[in-house]
């Protein structure tokens, strides 16, 4: 079964066995917070690979794992939790069509929420022992849910890059969407921030994903994620990620 939306083709191996799944979305971005968090969620839930996303717009790479070639854009599922992840940073030309395709797909599958997970760059990360996680929601109901989950609502600021487009597209398509932003290093892999993000996902979706192994392997993750982080840095430069440390314009 293939859902074609302009430049991206989403293919599921079967049908999603959930009437209204929560779709967790992560692409390489600030501190690789979403990528590390999603990887932990997939691993701890033992989520199964249920689909893939293809596009002529993404760099021509396949990821080979245990001898098996995989597309860098994957869909995993465990019960009513679905994850959409990318193993490569998205080139700027792909962000809009990718976001449109994912939001439309989430709507077709009656997703109860599209939950983006990423980092919020802060310049004093060295001083911050445990990252605070903020949430941006497209609906009042989701904002209420954030409060119930003890997640601070992100009130003022700028979000740049792929997650900004996911939020805009979800709002336009009337898909309930939330993006969680954990305070993080902008340019270094940040497993500590990812652990804080996973805990926030737990509270928001009522899950119980352990972060113990993530914290134990934090230093190892930082070494192994260097290549992806550096490729992501290049894309973030183009996406004006540094703007996230600015205040929005205030005119009155």
């Amino acid at each position: 079964m293939a859902d074609d939306e302009e430049d991206f083709s989403i293919t599921l191996r079967g049908s999603l066995k959930s009437a209204n799944p929560a779709v967790i979305l992560s692409v390489p971005d600030t501190g690789l917070v979403g990528s590390i968090a999603a990887s932990q969620i997939i691993h701890e839930l033992a989520a199964e690979e249920v689909g893939s996303i293809e596009s002529d717009l993404i760099p021509p790479v396949v990821i080979v794992r245990d001898g098996e070639p995989k597309t860098p854009l994957m869909i995993h599922q465990k019960d009513d939790i679905v994850t959409v992840t990318s193993d490569i940073p998205l080139p700027p030309v792909t962000i809009y069509p990718f976001a449109r395709a994912i939001v439309k797909w989430a709507k077709q599958h009656n997703a109860r929420v599209l939950l983006g997970v990423t980092g919020l760059p802060i310049s004093n990360r060295l001083e911050v022992e445990s990252s605070t996680v903020f949430g941006v929601a497209t609906t009042q109901a989701c904002r209420k849910q954030l409060s119930s989950a003890d997640i601070e609502v992100f009130r003022e600021g700028i979000i740049a890059g792929p997650y900004a487009v996911f939020i805009k597209e979800a709002e336009r398509e009337d898909v309930p969407a939330v993006t969680l932003l954990a305070e993080a290093h902008l340019q270094f892999p940040d497993p500590g921030a990812s652990a804080a993000a996973v805990k926030a996902v737990n509270r928001f979706l009522n899950l119980n994903v352990s972060v113990d192994s993530l914290l134990e392997k934090a230093e190892d993750i930082r070494i192994r994620a260097r290549d992806l982080m550096r490729r992501t840095q290049e894309q973030m430069r183009v996406q004006q990620k540094a703007r996230e440390q600015e205040l929005p314009g205030i005119y009155v």
Binding site: V93, Q187, I223, E234
Partner: protein
């Protein structure tokens, strides 16, 4: 007056070519970046970031698996060299497709600084596996007075 021309397949192809050029431009930076692995020395090049304030150049380096005592910093007025031994060997499956891992035991990086600094007045701290070095800028400049008008 020039006649307005309909877009032909060749115009579309030209547009596509320009789009592809833009697409690949984004890749060239990545490809020209220095390698993250020095196989000869069995050293990893750490991720780093250089920022500037009015008075300082701040170099931040990601050094996981490293203790403070094992970091050596050597700085001149326009360059800083960092070398750090890791707590234990890190094995990475670098030569994908083949069996076996490559072992690394140190981080090593030499970074050019954006402006001249005073290396003798530099301050460094190491927290959570991240090294931060703050160099005061060398050129302090002189005060410029604004003339009285009228």
């Amino acid at each position: 007056m020039a006649e307005r021309r309909r877009r032909t397949i060749f115009d579309l192809m030209e547009g596509l070519r320009r789009e592809m050029d833009r697409f690949f431009e984004g890749w060239s930076d990545e490809m020209s970046a220095p390698p993250l692995y020095d196989l000869e020395r069995r050293a990893l090049s750490p991720l780093s970031q250089i920022t500037e304030t009015d008075d300082e150049v701040i170099v931040t380096v990601d050094l996981p698996c490293v203790e403070k005592e094992d970091i050596k910093i050597n700085a001149t007025e326009d360059r800083v060299h960092i070398e750090a031994r890791m707590r234990e060997c890190v094995k990475l499956p670098l030569f994908r497709g083949r069996e076996g891992d490559t072992e690394f035991q140190t981080f090593r990086r030499s970074l050019p600084l954006t402006v001249l600094v005073d290396p003798n007045e530099a301050r460094a701290r190491f927290r959570g596996g991240i090294l931060e070095i703050r160099f005061p800028k060398r050129a302090k400049g002189s005060e410029v007075r604004i003339e009285q008008s009228g």
